[in-house]
């Protein structure tokens, strides 16, 4: 079984500042890793994913994440945030050879952009 820990429930950042949202995972097998974003009153949408290959993955809206196997981390970063980035961000994991039971999600990090 896998688990995901998002270390911060809330991250306030000033507009145009950089941000890092932290995610650590636990798994006894190799995993796929994801970040999803949820804007207010909407469903989740995929920001980016790591399946294999380069450990630095780029997603939509200028976000990127780096897979670090030794630290079992998949932190999300953006060099300069905008007010429109205010949202809930979820890290998630699945097992490539595992069951079809979807993703295991972290509890989410609320990114608050301050003007």
């Amino acid at each position: 079984a896998q688990s995901v820990t998002q270390l911060d429930s809330q991250v306030p950042v000033f507009e145009e500042a950089p941000v890092e949202l932290r995610c650590n995972y636990s798994s006894s097998v190799s995993v796929y890793l994801f970040w999803y974003v949820q804007y207010p009153n909407q469903g989740l949408q995929l920001l980016l994913k790591y399946l294999s290959g380069s450990t630095l993955v780029k997603g939509i809206n200028g976000f990127e994440a780096e897979f670090n196997k030794s630290q079992t981390s998949f932190h999300l970063r953006k060099p300069s945030v905008h007010i429109s980035d205010t949202a809930e961000y979820f890290c998630a994991v699945s097992a490539p050879r595992g069951g079809a039971d979807g993703l295991t999600f972290g509890k989410g990090t609320h990114l608050i952009i301050q003007p």
Partner: protein, 113 residues
């Protein structure tokens, strides 16, 4: 380009009432899921399906039932509503097993009083 459609968007139930949350997808995805989202708790898997006629329990199935008679539809049934089922429910679908790109509906907010 509808994607995943959930109805209703909002519903208030009294304790003991029953209802069905509808979910339909038009992407011909085999895999479909129901999650519930509670504040500060992330998403918990209720039930999932790998194709028409096949369903299985997720992490929190108690108090819910599902069916999958067609590829497109995956309704979630609450038989005897309880306050603990107050939540936001999300339906999602996926083309590939394990590769993780889930397509979500906009959610159904349910309150049980």
């Amino acid at each position: 380009n509808a994607g995943v459609t959930q109805t209703p968007k909002f519903r208030i139930l009294k304790i003991g009432q029953s209802m069905t949350l509808q979910c339909a997808q038009d992407m011909n995805h085999n895999y479909m899921y129901w999650y519930r989202q509670d504040p500060g708790m992330g998403l918990k898997l209720i039930y999932y399906s790998v194709g028409a006629g096949i369903t299985d329990k997720g992490e929190v199935p108690n108090g819910y039932n599902v069916s999958r008679s067609t590829t497109e539809d995956f309704p979630l049934r609450l038989e005897l509503a309880a306050p603990s089922q107050t939540s936001v429910y999300f339906c999602a679908s996926s083309q590939n097993r394990g590769s993780g790109e889930l397509f979500f509906g906009e959610g159904s907010r349910l309150t049980v009083l």
